[in-house]
Structures are given as structure tokens and as C-alpha cells.
């Protein structure tokens, strides 16, 4: 019988985007999410031991084979196409507001940034980093935006819990988040330390 780790390896190898544990488990009757996790751990240990150029990363709620960072210079040089385009400052600012405040409308984004943000929102939406997640209550029922799964993949986060946590940000934010937590009684930002 083929080992579970080999099955998982085959699936990860053949996929160009992250695969969720549940998806991986569906591949074989003998697999469940727990076994998938075990197989992933096994693969990682194996790749580590053999000093492979890649390993299994967890991004955007799934697992993916990615090359290790030390090979970045080689790969960047190899491909003549300009590498992954970085986001502009305004785009990052807008995305930060969305990531922490979602769902959020354009008006709030513009109020926080102090500048018009319609164009930036449109660009982010076109790049698949944000999406319309609903409509607000206010006048004209404004569109509300949230981040996408691709957003997590782009920044290498496993989930929104991986966002930089309050203690890494200026004090004001921590206070704000605390207030929010007290208000809705949920402990946002509590996650396994990355």
C-alpha cells in the first residue's frame, strides 16, 4: 500500500495552489484530516533531512509546496519576467484598514486615510485581494469590502489570525482592539503564535 505521506506529496506536487486539509483528506478513504496533518509533518521532516529546495508551507488555509527562501535569488534571476509585483504604499494602507476592520465601506477607508480611495479599492478588487462582502446600513447602502483567500496567500498568512498582532502595533490600536473585544465579547487576535 502507498504511504499516506506519498499520496499527500503527489497531490501537493500536482497542485499549483494551496490545498486545504479537508480537500487532501478526500483523496483517499484511509485519510482524515488528522492523518493529513501527520503526513505533512512527515514530509516536512523528510524534506528537512534531505535538504530539499522546497518544503510544505501553510498559506491561506491550505498547504502548498514552495521553494525555500534561500533559493529566491536564483529564481528571481532565472525568470526574465518581473517577479511578483509589490503593492504600492496606498494599496497597502487600504488593505491594512480592510484587514483589521472588515467588513468596511469606502467612506470609512477614506476617513481614516484622509484621501480618496476609490481607485485603490478598485485596483485591489481587480487583483483579487479584496471583494465585496455585503452592503452597509447607511445612505445608499454602501458596498462593504473584505479580504479574500488570495489576500492570505499573497502575504503568506494561514488565516486572518496571522495578521500582525496588536502588541506589534502602536499602543492606540491595542486599546481599540481591546475595546472591541470587550464590546463583542470575542477574543479576536488570539491565535497560535506564528
Amino acid at each position: 500500500m502507498i504511504r499516506a505521506s506519498r499520496v499527500i506529496e503527489a497531490l501537493l506536487f500536482a497542485s499549483e495552489s494551496p490545498l486545504a486539509p479537508a480537500d487532501l483528506a478526500r483523496a483517499d478513504e484511509d485519510l482524515d484530516e488528522e492523518r493529513v496533518e501527520a503526513a505533512i509533518a512527515e514530509l516536512r521532516a523528510e524534506y528537512e533531512r534531505d535538504a530539499r529546495a522546497f518544503t510544505v508551507y501553510e498559506v491561506g488555509g491550505g498547504y502548498q509546496l514552495l521553494t525555500r527562501p534561500e533559493f529566491a535569488p536564483v529564481l528571481e534571476r532565472f525568470d526574465s519576467v518581473p517577479g511578483a509585483q509589490r503593492l504600492s504604499g496606498p494599496a497597502l494602507e487600504t488593505l491594512a484598514i480592510l484587514a483589521y476592520r472588515q467588513p468596511v465601506g469606502r467612506a470609512e477607508v477614506e476617513e481614516i486615510r484622509g484621501v480618496g480611495s476609490g481607485g485603490v479599492l478598485k485596483t485591489l478588487q481587480e487583483r483579487g485581494l479584496i471583494e465585496v462582502v455585503g452592503r452597509g446600513e447607511g445612505l445608499g447602502r454602501p458596498l462593504l469590502y473584505g479580504t479574500t483567500q488570495f489576500f492570505l496567500q499573497h502575504f503568506g498568512f494561514r488565516s486572518l489570525d496571522d495578521l500582525p498582532r496588536s502588541e506589534e502595533l502602536p499602543v492606540v490600536l491595542a486599546r481599540r482592539e481591546q475595546r472591541k473585544e470587550e464590546a463583542d465579547g470575542t477574543a479576536a487576535g488570539v491565535s497560535e503564535a506564528g
Binding site: S17, Q64, F71, R86, L92, Y100, R113, L173
Partner: protein
């Protein structure tokens, strides 16, 4: 007192560097270690106005955003001049709202910086499919390596050729018709029951005639008008009248 400071140093500012008026304002405050909860509004207003002197270079929308902030600062400055009643704790500092906005913006600016760091880290990992199969480059994408000298040389050659005296060679092949050759063979076979191919070709003596005769010969054989026999390779090739051959047999 502040006038000289407006001319140089941290206040000679390139507005394009800033994402907006809040960004600029924070820059002024943080770069001078000003206590954000006690902003010297007069000084900061003056510096802000100095920084946006070159506003006309910006597009209208962006300029409007900076002007709006300038107006807010001037308003706060004016409000600061009115004495607040000391016994009224409820009276809010005119700067309070601005401070709240600045802190909120600063928080997200910091968050954006952390996102950028995460993006940079992530961009160093590559998934399968990163190195794509490469399509042949489009002609337009290839760099041109031709120099003007080469164009000139080519032009020179062209002119030379145009000026060269016209020498015309008319090359015309002699026409050999397969039909003529067929008649020739049939005529020869009128005289004799068989004829050797070499004899057929001999009077003409050129390869082209030999080819013509051979094709005619093969054509006749195909029509079963003649039969062609050769005992061994390179031996004499004999052409027989087919009908008589059959009669003879």
C-alpha cells in the same frame, strides 16, 4: 521665528512622497519629536502650509485633500485662541479630533508596514508553475541590433545595383514534348518490331532528349502500346511493339 525653517531642512518637502495630508502631518510631528497629545498647533500649521506651497503641481483631487487639512489646522488654531472656561472639564480640546485621526491613521500606516514586510517574506517563496513554459518571443519584443551604418551600407548597395548597366540573360529551355517523342518511338516501331533505346536517343545526343524519350517510352508502356525489356541492369534497353509481341507469342 519659524520663517527660516520653512525654507530648508525637513520642511522642504516633496509632496509626492506622502500618501495624503495625514501622512504629511504625522511626518512633521514625529520628525520633530513633538508630543502628539500636545501639538503646537501654530507651529505645525505654519510648517504644513509651507510644505504645500507647491500644491499646484498636484492633481486637483489630491490638492483638495491637502487644502482641506490646511483649513482644519487653521480652524483649530483659531479655536485655540479662544479661552476655554477653566471650570468646564467637558470642553474638549480643539485638537482632540485631529489627534484621534492622526493616531488612527498612524496605526494603520504601521499595519501597512507590517503587511509590506509579510509580502516581502512571502515573495521569496515560489510555487510550482512560477517558471512558465516560455512562448517564442514576439518579433516586436526582440531587441533590434541594426545600426544606422548597416542601413546606409544596404542603401549604398541598392543604389549601386540600380545604377549598374542592365545585362539581361535570356535562358530558355529547348522544348521537348513528350508527345513528339511518343510519335518518334511509334514511327520507329513502324519500321521494326523492336528498337533499342540507345538508337532512339543517339541522333539527339542530349540528356534532355534521353529523358523525354524515356518518359515517352514509359507512357507507352503504361498504355500497353509497347513493352520494354532489359535483360540485366545497364544492358541494352529494347522497346517492342506490344501488339505484335502478343501476336508473335
Amino acid at each position: 521665528m519659524e520663517a527660516p525653517a520653512l525654507q530648508a531642512g525637513p520642511f522642504d518637502i516633496d509632496l509626492d512622497r506622502f500618501h495624503g495630508p495625514l501622512d504629511l502631518l504625522l511626518h512633521l510631528i514625529r520628525n520633530q519629536d513633538i508630543d502628539i497629545f500636545d501639538i503646537p498647533i501654530s507651529k505645525i500649521t505654519q510648517q504644513f502650509l509651507g510644505a504645500i506651497r507647491n500644491l499646484q503641481r498636484l492633481e486637483l483631487e489630491r490638492a483638495g485633500e491637502f487644502l482641506e487639512m490646511a483649513a482644519t489646522l487653521v480652524r483649530i488654531k483659531a479655536q485655540m485662541l479662544f479661552p476655554r472656561r477653566g471650570d468646564d472639564d467637558e470642553a474638549e480640546d480643539p485638537r482632540a479630533d485631529l489627534v484621534r485621526r492622526l493616531l488612527e491613521y498612524e496605526h494603520f500606516r504601521e499595519a501597512a508596514r507590517l503587511l509590506e514586510r509579510a509580502e516581502r517574506t512571502r515573495s521569496r517563496l515560489f510555487a510550482r508553475g512560477f517558471v512558465e513554459a516560455r512562448p517564442a518571443p514576439k518579433l516586436a519584443d526582440l531587441p533590434l541590433e541594426t545600426t544606422w551604418d548597416e542601413v546606409e551600407t544596404a542603401l549604398g548597395g541598392l543604389i549601386e545595383r540600380l545604377n549598374a548597366p542592365e545585362t539581361i540573360h535570356h535562358v530558355r529551355g529547348r522544348e521537348i514534348k513528350i508527345d513528339d517523342k511518343i510519335h518518334e518511338i511509334l514511327a520507329a516501331l513502324q519500321q521494326a518490331r523492336r528498337v533499342e533505346f540507345a538508337d532512339l536517343v543517339a541522333p539527339w545526343g542530349t540528356r534532355l532528349h534521353a529523358v523525354g524519350s524515356l518518359l515517352a517510352c514509359l507512357e507507352l508502356a503504361k498504355r500497353s502500346v509497347v513493352r520494354v525489356r532489359q535483360v540485366s541492369p545497364f544492358a541494352a534497353l529494347w522497346i517492342y511493339r506490344a501488339k505484335q509481341e502478343r501476336e508473335a507469342a
